[in-house]
């Protein structure tokens, strides 16, 4: 399992960001749709495992399968493009503009949402026998998750909003670390191991992931969760997206870029000062 030196994979990050910006609308949408759908399926899987075993850790341990799959298939999550695409602008790649960045973010957002929503509908059909009976245990769990994480935050007002934002930041810090970590290795096994660790951390700690939430909350609304669409957008999705954006760009993209790509010259310690 080869390991790439940071200087090599950071140029890879910038190249990846640039190529995503140059991707055609059709490709961007298809890749985002598939990424959203696969991640949503993995979230449904993790909730099912948690309900069946009664242990959240086992669900979290297995949740990264979805992320590994969609990364290896070359699909794009909003959290990943938040980190990678702005690097092309920071590196002044020819033609790279903030307009191009926002275009990419918007398309990926739409694609991810559509994908996650599709899986949410499919899951709602599965757990209710095609809406012919009440939701089963998994369905009830899916319905209740949404309540605590919308109305629950709203109950705390500004403090709730801050908590939500920080959880979003922490989430994409971990998830984007997973994206970048996958670039450090050239083999499939190496990539999977590198991605598994940070994704596990984020899911077990209950950090807020904008795309996982695009599945959990619409599911909750369909399965009788006691919160409204407005609650979902204002008290979850929008702050989460902003938190994810800040977390990915600052803690992962910019830090790696500035330290490994725009490396400052080594400091020379003079002998006198070193001895003193």
């Amino acid at each position: 399992m080869a390991y790439l030196a940071p200087a090599e994979f950071v140029t890879k990050m910038v190249d990846a960001g640039e190529s995503k910006m140059l991707m055609s609308t059709r490709d961007t949408l298809i890749r985002a749709f598939m990424a959203g759908a696969i991640l949503a399926l993995a979230a449904a899987f993790a909730v099912t495992v948690t309900v069946n075993t009664g242990n959240h850790l086992i669900g979290s341990l297995l949740f990264p399968v979805g992320f590994c799959l969609l990364y290896l298939l070359g699909f794009d999550l909003l959290t990943g493009v938040f980190t990678l695409v702005p690097l092309a602008v920071f590196d002044r790649r020819p033609g790279a503009t903030w307009g191009g960045v926002f275009r990419n973010w918007w398309l990926v957002f739409v694609g991810n949402f559509a994908g996650a929503l599709t899986v949410a509908v499919f899951m709602a059909i599965i757990v209710t026998f095609g809406f012919s009976e009440g939701p089963n245990a998994v369905g009830q769990k899916l319905g209740s998750i949404g309540e605590l994480r919308t109305v629950g935050y709203a109950a705390h007002g500004g403090a709730g909003m801050l908590t939500l934002f920080v959880r979003g930041v922490l989430c994409n810090w971990m998830v984007s670390t997973g994206v970048v970590a996958a670039m450090m290795s050239t083999s499939v096994s190496g990539k999977v191991i590198a991605m598994w660790m940070p994704i596990l951390v984020f899911f077990y700690m209950g950090f807020e992931h904008s795309i996982v939430n695009m599945f959990l909350f619409p599911s909750g609304l369909m399965l009788g969760g006691k919160f409204t669409l407005m609650d979902y957008f204002i008290w979850n999705e929008i702050p989460t997206v902003v938190g994810n954006l800040v977390g990915g760009m600052t803690f992962v993209g910019l830090t790696l870029y500035s330290t490994h790509y725009k490396t400052a010259p080594n400091r020379k310690v003079s002998v006198k000062r070193a001895l003193a």
Binding site: A2, E8, L22, M23, S24, R93
Partner: protein
């Protein structure tokens, strides 16, 4: 016969020279010409083509012979001097190269016939009076015939002086070759004997060459060679690596690492390029990687990066290239945000010259971008990074024969790559024109629209931003020249790089239209918007009139 690397880079040379019978010194001349050629040809730079190397060596021989003639009796007597004919064949790779001056002949031997490949440089006044039109040593400059063709296994070539071919015919050669099957030295001796027996008074000399087997195609050889090399260790400053001392890191990317190094033997600075960790797992990328040095060795231009001289056997896979001190064109653009036209022209012309050198060898650069152009302190421009080059001779018969793969930076790649039509020399022209536009205007002519193309029908949708909007101070004809070079359809661009470069200095009448451009051409969107507004107003007025009637 040379061995090892020399056999690959220089090939096998066979030469024959013949003096003129009237001059005693001529014997010395012919001997000197052959010995010098065989010695010096193998000492020429290995990045030179056979043609260039042979011409250089023969020009030197000619000068020496001519000087000797001038010093001796030959100065006043054209019959006596250091004059000789010269014919040589060089077998390199799968190609035969012929160099010829004078009336010695080179034949290809077919069963039952002799095909004369060389032309006799003989001026004929009458049957009795004939003399050499061209030869080594007659003048300060020599005009050599050169030809090259692919070699085939089993071919036999015959080099013969006039004392030999005058007395031999195809049937005789055939018979002798049949008799001495395989033993070429014996056959040559027998042919000379035969000529003398027929009454040849002149020196009769023949050389026979048979191609028994050909090496694998050069690129396959390159690949086979690559498989035997180990991957280089991570390079650190001060480290000793393959006879080089690493000085510092120059550039690291996801594809390769470039280090500045000093050659311990010559003290020269070179740029060593080693594959990145990721590249090492992909054989096709490694093939491209070694291609760079292959191309750099074969292109001889002041505006294309050269390969460093490499005469040592290697243990590791790396590429040694000339180190060019300077800044990249992208840095230059940052340093000169609004350059004047002349500065840009000078750079564009030099890049074009480098590209022409590639195109003459049927190579496309395919990755022309500002980061791949280096300008040194004296203002000389060189194209670097030849790893994406498409070499027609190497890809013949393979899936990539039409240069369809997109290997370069997307922003500078011509539309035809995205629509699947594949690249041509016009695609390199497009990339050069994008850079010219960017140097002057600071933007890309089509923004990021080109890489989003998928279908040839989309070409019409490309919106060209007029350069005059960004730089109103520049002449209108310049925008027209660039617009043509940046035409989405390759066939409607300038036909050659030279035409583009010429247009940049001396625009033709088609660009010098003083007539103010109509709004429809200048800004079609504004035109249609204005028209729509006009119609809206008209509709409202008519509607108002209709309502007021009732």
């Amino acid at each position: 016969m040379p061995q090892g690397a020399l056999l690959q880079t220089k090939g096998i040379a066979v030469a024959l020279a013949d003096g003129i019978s009237s001059s005693a010194d001529s014997q010395v001349a012919s001997q000197a010409a052959v010995v010098n050629f065989l010695d010096d040809y193998y000492c020429t730079s290995e990045s030179w083509t056979v043609r260039r190397a042979a011409h250089c060596v023969l020009a030197a021989s000619n000068s020496w012979l001519h000087a000797q003639t001038q010093r001796g009796a030959g100065r006043f007597d054209k019959e006596r001097g250091f004059v000789c004919t010269f014919s040589a064949l060089v077998f390199k790779g799968r190609q035969v190269h012929m160099l010829h001056v004078g009336d010695t002949r080179i034949y290809r031997v077919h069963p039952g016939s002799l095909e004369q490949l060389s032309q006799d440089h003989r001026v004929r006044i009458s049957d009795e009076e004939q003399f050499l039109g061209r030869a080594l040593g007659t003048g300060p400059h020599v005009d050599l015939d050169y030809a090259s063709w692919p070699a085939e296994a089993g071919e036999t070539y015959l080099l013969a002086t006039d004392g030999a071919y005058g007395w031999l015919d195809a049937a005789a050669v055939d018979a002798v070759l049949q008799r001495c099957s395989g033993d070429l030295p014996a056959a040559a001796r027998e042919l000379v004997g035969l000529a003398q027996a027929q009454g040849s008074g002149d020196d009769a000399t023949v050389q026979l060459v048979r191609i028994e087997a050909l090496p694998a195609a050069e690129f396959q050889q390159l690949q086979a060679e690559r498989d035997t090399l180990a991957m280089p260790p991570p390079l650190q400053p001060g480290m000793s690596f393959e006879g080089y001392t690493i000085l510092r890191e120059l550039h690291v990317s996801a594809r390769s690492q470039v280090h500045l190094a000093r050659d311990d033997a010559t003290g020269q600075q070179v740029a060593l390029k080693i594959p990145s960790v990721e590249l090492r797992e992909s054989p096709s990328s490694l093939d491209r990687f070694v291609l760079e040095e292959w191309v750099a060795r074969r292109v001889d231009s002041a505006h294309v990066m050269r390969a460093a001289v490499a005469d040592r056997p290697r243990q590791h896979l790396f590429v040694a290239l000339e180190y060019i001190e300077g800044r990249t064109l992208s840095q230059w653009m940052t340093d000169h945000p609004r350059p004047d036209l002349e500065a840009v022209r000078s750079i564009v012309e030099q890049i074009a010259r480098g590209l022409q050198a590639l195109h003459r060898r049927e190579m496309l650069h395919q990755d022309l971008r500002p980061a791949n152009v280096i300008i040194d302190a004296a203002g000389s421009v060189k194209i670097i990074d030849l790893a994406a080059a498409h070499v027609a001779g190497l890809t013949e018969g393979t899936a990539d024969a039409d240069a369809r793969a997109i290997l370069g930076e997307l922003q500078y790649t011509a539309p035809e790559y995205f629509t699947g039509a594949g690249g041509t020399a016009a695609s390199d022209l497009f990339s050069l024109a994008v850079m010219t536009y960017q140097m002057l205007g600071g933007q890309l002519p089509y923004g990021l629209q080109v890489p989003l193309l998928r279908d040839p029908r989309d070409l019409a949708r490309l919106q060209y931003t007029s350069l005059r909007r960004l730089r109103p101070d520049l002449p209108a004809w310049l925008d027209a020249v660039l617009r043509k070079a940046l035409h989405p359809q390759a066939a409607r661009r300038q036909e050659a790089l030279s035409e583009f470069v010429h247009d940049l200095r001396t625009p033709g009448p088609e660009f010098l239209n003083d007539r103010p451009q109509p709004l429809l051409e200048r800004d079609p969107v504004a035109f249609w918007r204005a028209l729509a507004l006009l119609l809206l107003v008209a509709t409202l007025v008519l509607a108002g009139m209709l309502l007021s009637r009732h």
